[in-house]
């Protein structure tokens, strides 16, 4: 059981987390955040394995991972 | 008052810096200030201080910035071409509001110039020691004793006003030997809460910085700094008057030029000419008020300087050109002789008849 949270308003939508996720569950939203970017998020939390690959590649410390 | 010892100007300055609490010296070899570095290299290791010969003048001034950021007394010394190289760092010191001491034992320029005494860095010191709007405290010793006293003073004022200070000396002052008293006097403690000492995880980080991309904010910082400069100009002007009580002609000169002028004044007085001298000790802040007041009671000024006419501009500005200002100058490492100055005194004395 793992949980990944995105501080979406800090996200610049660069997508490095999307490419890093081994489960391919990180996606960019179609909506925009207060900065005008499409923030990253995870829809299917249950599929998260808590590997923190997404957070490791995030340049903006947007992601917190709990396990 | 401690006993007097016979010392060379450069070495007296170095020892004074140590007595003032300076434990960090960074420099680069250049004539004619080498004695300062050599002295520091001998003394610092024995008092748990740091002497470091940097890879360049540029590195040396930036090492100074590093120590100054931590709130400790620090200095560098060089001669004219080296001071040009330090100019970037001097601007950063001013922009970061950091105290530090820079010693310029001037030599003839421009370019590599020569290695004999000069005062041709007057403009550089008082106007343009780097980019941007700022001032340095500029102190000009005219004796070995003043090399000592003004070094104490420079460290004190630099910390008091959080700005860099410069001792503007020259090859003559540096090499001259005179008996001096090395009495340090009182060292004042100033607020150093801005210094980088590590947060100990107990306070917010301190940041030493000169970057500011918001024009309104950068303007405010400049205006604030100049408010501080106004206080310096009001409270810290230093000068010495010599035989000015009844003078018709007023010589303005600093450093070695003042020493020569004093001899010329004595000779002129013996010949019945009423001449005196105002010797600026602080070149910035410049003794504007006394010169303006003096302009009402003398018929002419003479600027005696080892430069092509730099000090003369400040005299003209301070006196608002109320009276003629004659120039008596030698350059390139040459020093005006007593007779050079005496001739100029006689020329000035002929202006406008009796005052």
């Amino acid at each position: 059981m793992a949980k990944v949270t995105f501080d979406e308003n800090l996200c610049k939508g660069c997508g490095l987390c999307v490419g890093a996720c081994p489960k391919k569950i990180v996606k960019l939203k179609t909506e925009i955040n207060i900065k005008g970017y499409h923030p990253a998020h995870v829809e299917d939390q249950s599929a998260c394995i808590g590997c923190a690959f997404c957070a490791t590649m995030c340049p903006d410390c947007v992601i917190t991972v709990e396990k | 008052m401690s006993d007097k010892v016979l010392m060379k100007g450069n070495e007296a300055l170095a020892e004074a810096a140590i007595m003032a609490g300076c434990r960090h010296y960074f420099g680069y070899p250049i004539t004619p200030q080498t004695e300062v570095a050599a002295y520091m290299s001998k003394r610092m290791p024995k008092i748990n201080g740091v002497f470091l010969q940097a890879e360049s003048e540029i590195a040396a001034i930036n090492m100074v910035i590093g120590v100054a950021s931590t709130g400790k007394r620090v200095m560098t010394s060089s001669s004219s071409p080296g001071i040009s190289l330090k100019s970037e760092g001097i601007s950063y010191l001013a922009g970061c509001d950091l105290p530090a001491l820079i010693v310029n034992v001037q030599r003839g320029g421009p370019g590599l110039g020569g290695i004999q005494p000069s005062q041709a860095d007057y403009f550089h010191a008082t106007r343009g020691a780097g980019h941007g709007d700022f001032h340095l405290l500029v102190l000009a010793p005219a004796s070995v004793q003043e090399m000592v006293n003004l070094t104490f003073k420079a460290f004190d004022l630099a910390e008091k006003y959080r700005m860099p200070a410069m001792i503007l000396s020259d090859g003559t002052m540096g090499q001259m030997m005179e008996p001096v008293s090395l009495d340090a006097g009182e060292i004042h403690e100033y607020d150093k809460s801005w210094a980088l000492t590590g947060t100990k995880c107990e306070r917010k980080p301190n940041i030493i910085n000169s970057l500011c991309l918001q024009p309104e904010e950068l303007e405010r910082l400049n205006v604030e700094r100049y408010e501080r400069y106004k206080i310096v100009e009001r409270d810290e002007v230093m000068y010495e008057e010599y035989m000015m009580d009844d003078a018709d002609v007023c010589i303005v000169a600093f450093g070695v030029a003042a020493r020569v002028s004093q001899n010329a004044i004595d000779k002129a007085r013996a010949a019945g000419i009423k001449v005196g001298m105002i010797r600026p000790i602080t070149l910035w802040p410049f003794p504007k008020k006394v010169l303006l007041d003096t302009a009402d009671r003398v018929k002419a000024f003479i600027s005696v300087e080892l430069s092509m006419g730099q000090l003369i501009e400040d005299i003209e500005l301070a006196t608002r050109c109320k009276k003629p200002v004659l120039l008596c100058s030698r350059v390139g490492g040459m020093i005006p002789s007593t007779d050079n100055v005496l001739d100029k005194i006689k020329e000035a004395d002929k202006i406008g008849g009796a005052n």
């Binding site: 793992a2 997508g15 490095l16 410390c61 991972v65 | 540029i58 120590v67 931590t70 400790k72 940041i207």
Partner: protein, 251 residues
Amino acid sequence: MATVFSKPEALTDAPLHYCPGCTHGIIHRLVAEAIDELGVRGRTIGVASVGCSVFTYNYFNCDMVQAAHGRAPAVATGVKRSDPNNIVFTYQGDGDLAAIGTAETVHSAARGENITVIFVNNAIYGMTGGQMAPTTLPGQVTQTSPYGRDVNTVGYPVKVCEMLSKVDGATYLERVAVNNVKNVRAAKAAIKKAFQNQIEGKGFSLIEVLSTCPTNWGMTPDKALGWLEENMIPYYPLGVYKDKYAESEVK
């Protein structure tokens, strides 16, 4: 549930100003993690440089001084010599460290200054809009090498780790990259070691981090990671270039 990944304490809450996907942010985090894990934040003093990383003084949650272009190692020398108990690091880009500040870099290494240098190599001047850097690759197009870097007229890139490996005073030199998770983890270990060396008084450590500049390279952040791997790593091989305290010589 326990937190397995969150923002380190040695970073402030200020949002980073870097372009989307710029890996400066990852490197900032790695430095901050190292500071936290070694428990030295309260006695760490950072030296910011000039370039994209000029604002690092807003991001690291420790005392900071902002140095003139290229002068960070000299400023760090002063800070460290003032109080050798403090942990002093510089964070510099390639233009700052390998062009205008080459002398300061080489001589701080030669003196064996007990400092940690984080050298971010993204093969371009980012802050000023993508000009040719001392580390720009042969043939690489930049704003000031519009026909590609011609080594016959402007010479070759400077390989900092290789150059400094011949400097006796240097203690630890390693080149790492932040283009994938595995390399980021290796970069973290290298950066931590560079700080650990300083804590142990071992002398000058420099970690060269190959980084991306999606904006000035003109590609998406994802493509930039690929470009780094395909173009930069072959020219700037990863690895330890010097470890004075290693048991055996590392080639």
